[in-house]
Amino acid sequence: MSIQKLFSAPLHVVNVGIEAFKDTCEKYSPPAVQVDWRPPVDVAPDSEAILAKRAAKIDKANQKVMEIILAGTPKLVGLDIARNVVPGMTEDTILHAGPPITWDRMCGPMRGGVMAGLVYEGRATTIEEAEKLAASGKIKYAPCHEHAAVGPMAGIVTPSMPVMIIRNEKFGNVAYCTLNEGLGKVLRYGAFGEEVTKRLKWMETVLYPVLKAAIAHSGPIDLKNLIAQALHMGDEVHNRNRAGTSLLYRAIAPSIVATCANKDDAVAVLNFINGNDHFFLNLSMPACKATLDAARNVKGSSIAVVMARNGTDFGVQLAGTGDLWFTAPAEVPDALYFAGFSKADANPDIGDSAITETGGLGGFAIAAAPAIVQFVGGAAGDALRYTLSMYEITAGESRMYQIPALDFRGTPTGIDVRKVVEKNLVPVIDTGVAHKKAGVGQVGAGIVAAPMGPFAKAYDALAKLLK
């Protein structure tokens, strides 16, 4: 554009800074736009210049990554026991949510989950025994994410637990997730005791075989399709899974009836699913995991393939930085708390469920879920603004997952760490909040801003790689 050309066209100003200047421009030559500017994030001094110089290479890598993410076709293809299928699962392995962590740094709910897992496995008979074993160094703790798995809240996976198998048909990779236990005293919030063990045993001996037979009968369930429908029905598939659960129920109920010889078991399984609005969370999560895992290890890409929290740290992985974790302390959510609880009771952010946001769902799709807007400020407009703001930090839009209230615009998908850092805008996560004491359970829910630290570190690391 020459200066001459500026004189001959209407002036349209992008204003960065003093807002009064924009008002004048708007008055004399509308429209003008005000940038909601923030000081840049503290990163290594040469990172921005390096990434700017390599922008073409990064953009190309990101394009490849986005193509993989958008083309993913996650399907529920079956169930099995973790030890049989989860890669690297040994008898001493316990998988957990979030980035790697040692026993001494685990938060209350995660420790509770580990101990409950050891009792469930029969490795200990009392909690004291379980605690001793957990701290002994004998148990190998590893992130679910490093074993092609994800788990909500504490995310504990032990060898005997049944897992659902989600296959990304397009790319052939597989992801695993345990079955959702429902509410009340549950392991994922760190509860332990007889009730917890009993339910886990029932899931292993009744729920698992019934579902396994049913899925074998129904054939693969197309999760991408179910999620897309669920979004049109008011779910964002992180904090609200009522529609997804209902759709799944409709999809498999006939097969359960057809394959389960024991009528009492069939009724119990159907009632269990029907009574747990979050049953589908354990499918929306691995659906995102299977989709995103296919996009790992694309050299130069700045797109996040993992956001996960272990209740102590918040971790991020990029498609372009291999298996490296970038972490910072997880924050205590500023959420909406249930009656009788407050922020003082809350555990720092926990769970692999932020994989939904990483995949363009959850908080990124909150505009699709007006029923839960009380978690985000009370008005439907607030939910819309959250979703709209996430387009600022994403590389693309979903072709399949749409927001009706935005005229069916695809959800913001593919978090670009460059945009997060350079715009100083972190992803929003629509999450449940766990009590900091093991086993108390959920105490609130709401929108949580991811900490900037992991993104700043990932940004610097990518710059270093591309230097």
Binding site: H12, C25, V35, R38
Partner: protein, 512 residues
């Protein structure tokens, strides 16, 4: 006294907004002092000087907002803190709260994506971030006006070279004024469209010539600011020369007017070479260089004469007659006043170029002229805060503005100095500039009138009101209010300086 404060992490507001909030807090019942600033090192050192740097502030950084209130008791302090939160949250939640308004874009790139036809980025963030934003805007093919100061000369050169290569212009850094396609940008006045194109390396200089042109019934095609440093050899006049060429090529521009302090030799040579190539009349004012035009007023009138195809000599002759009228007025005013004290003039300027023009005008009218920004034969003030003999002070210089908003917005400091100077037994005349237009204080009379009323009892107060009838302040009302308060008002800075100088000379003669 109770001093309480809060650190708000990860909040950002522009300095003008924070100043407004701070000022509103200071007027809150029981509050002695209040400050709302971003936690930069500079701001923290200012807080420390006024004993407002609470211990909890020490660890805060650039991205944190500090609120501190000193009040007569804890209750008043807490109430003020709550008020601060309310003011800031109101700011953050526009009228659309609850509605479905899209969130504002977070950077230039997303702003451009949502604004088809975007062609200029106006950047006024803190200097250390400004070059980064300007670079992004240039990358996206936008012209840039860089209002921010404190951008290094290396960054300025790099940006301007890059822009030049892309056929873009970077106005600034430290560019206060431009008018592009009739749109007043940053600190600018409302003037009609017309035949005169301006290239200005001085913000208030550009404001003054555009106002005079409009007040004379002519108009402005474009006024392109370049920032004062552009005409230094280190920058090489990149923006200045590009703007000249653009105006030369512009069909609406019939006359080109250049306004700057004297460029450095290398740049001056290039400007002259380009003037020779341009086929349109070019009026050049390099303020302080001598010759004709010597003042902003002369330069503007010459440009108007050329635009009207009138005789430039006649235009200047008209000024000579005007000056005779001013001389008569000065004699009459001094004769009419029963008691006159002192003999010196003290000019307190919010516009740097007005202070420079004052020195040109006053040269030969008063002797022993001092300034903190001396020009020509003027002497350098030892201490800008303590004017001596005949002095003109530029309150926009760094010694006055660190940690404070520009004196065109915030009158507090100058009001204090007006009263101090009026009380000085040696002072006979106080000279002020009152800049109107966008960006400037929107109600200058409200703050100036009580001060002028007091000062006018002790000394002559002369004010130049620099603006147009289209400006948002309502010039007629401002002039009327200042006159009623006791000021002698002129509508150009040169005329005000002349009148003030003549009065000072007359008083000196009388009291000799």
């Amino acid at each position: 006294m109770n001093t309480v404060g809060r650190v708000k992490q990860g909040f950002y507001f522009d300095s003008v907004t924070l100043m407004r909030v701070g000022r509103e807090l200071s007027g809150f019942p029981g509050v002695a002092e209040a400050s709302v600033v971003m936690a930069t090192e500079a701001n923290k050192s200012i807080l420390a000087m006024s004993d407002l740097l609470l211990s909890e502030f020490k660890k805060s950084g650039d991205q944190d907002l500090l609120i501190v209130v000193k009040a007569k008791d804890a209750k008043a302090a807490d109430a003020a803190l709550a008020k601060a939160e309310e003011l800031l949250s109101r700011k953050k939640k526009p009228a659309a709260a609850g509605g479905t308004a899209a969130p504002a874009p977070r950077d230039v790139a997303s702003a451009v994506a949502g604004l088809p036809g975007a062609n200029l980025a106006l950047i006024s963030v803190a200097g250390r971030y400004a070059a980064r934003e300007a670079r992004k805007a240039l990358d996206l093919g936008l012209h840039v006006m860089l209002f921010s100061d404190n951008v290094s000369i290396e960054e300025e050169v790099a940006l301007k070279k890059f822009a030049h290569k892309k056929g873009l212009i970077v106005m600034g850094p430290d560019c206060g004024t431009s008018i592009v396609n009739g749109v007043p940008l940053a600190f600018a006045n409302v003037v009609s469209k017309g035949p005169i194109g301006i290239v200005g390396a001085s913000g208030t200089g550009t404001q003054e010539v555009t106002c005079i042109i409009a007040n004379e019934g002519s108009g402005v095609s474009q006024a392109i600011g370049t920032g004062g440093r552009d005409v230094k050899d280190a920058v090489g006049g990149i923006a200045f020369l590009d703007a000249m060429q653009a105006l030369a090529d512009d069909r609406e521009t019939k006359v080109i007017l250049l306004v700057s302090k004297p460029p450095q030799p290398g740049v001056l040579k290039k400007i002259y070479a380009l003037i020779r190539k341009i086929k349109k009349p070019v009026v050049a004012l390099f303020l302080g260089e001598g010759g004709t035009p010597a003042t902003l007023e002369q330069a503007a009138l010459l440009a108007v004469a050329h635009a009207n195809r009138a005789d430039p000599v006649q235009a200047l002759a008209h000024l000579t007659r005007r000056d005779e009228v001013l001389a008569a007025e000065a004699r009459a005013l001094v004769a009419k006043r029963k008691k006159t004290k002192g003999r010196y003039l003290r000019g307190l300027f919010s516009g740097g170029t007005f202070c420079a023009e004052a020195q040109v005008v006053l040269d030969g009218i008063v002797r022993h002229l001092y300034s903190n920004a001396p020009l020509g034969d003027s002497l350098k003030l030892k201490n800008a805060w303590k004017p001596e003999k005949n002095s003109v002070v530029d309150l926009g210089e760094d010694e006055f503005t660190v940690g404070r908003a520009h004196p065109m917005i915030d009158f507090t400091l100058r009001n204090k100095m007006i009263l101090e100077q009026a009380a000085d037994p040696d002072v006979a005349v106080i000279l002020l500039d009152v800049v109107l237009g966008y960006g400037a204080n929107l109600d200058p009379a409200a703050e100036l009138v009580p001060v002028i009323q007091k000062a006018a009892k002790q000394v002559f107060v002369v004010a130049g009101v620099n603006g147009t009838i289209g400006d948002p302040q309502n010039r007629a009302q401002v002039v009327e209010a200042l006159r009623e308060a006791g000021a002698h008002v002129q509508l150009t800075n040169a005329a005000a300086c002349k009148l003030a100088g003549l009065i000072a000379a007359e008083v000196a003669r009388k009291n000799r």
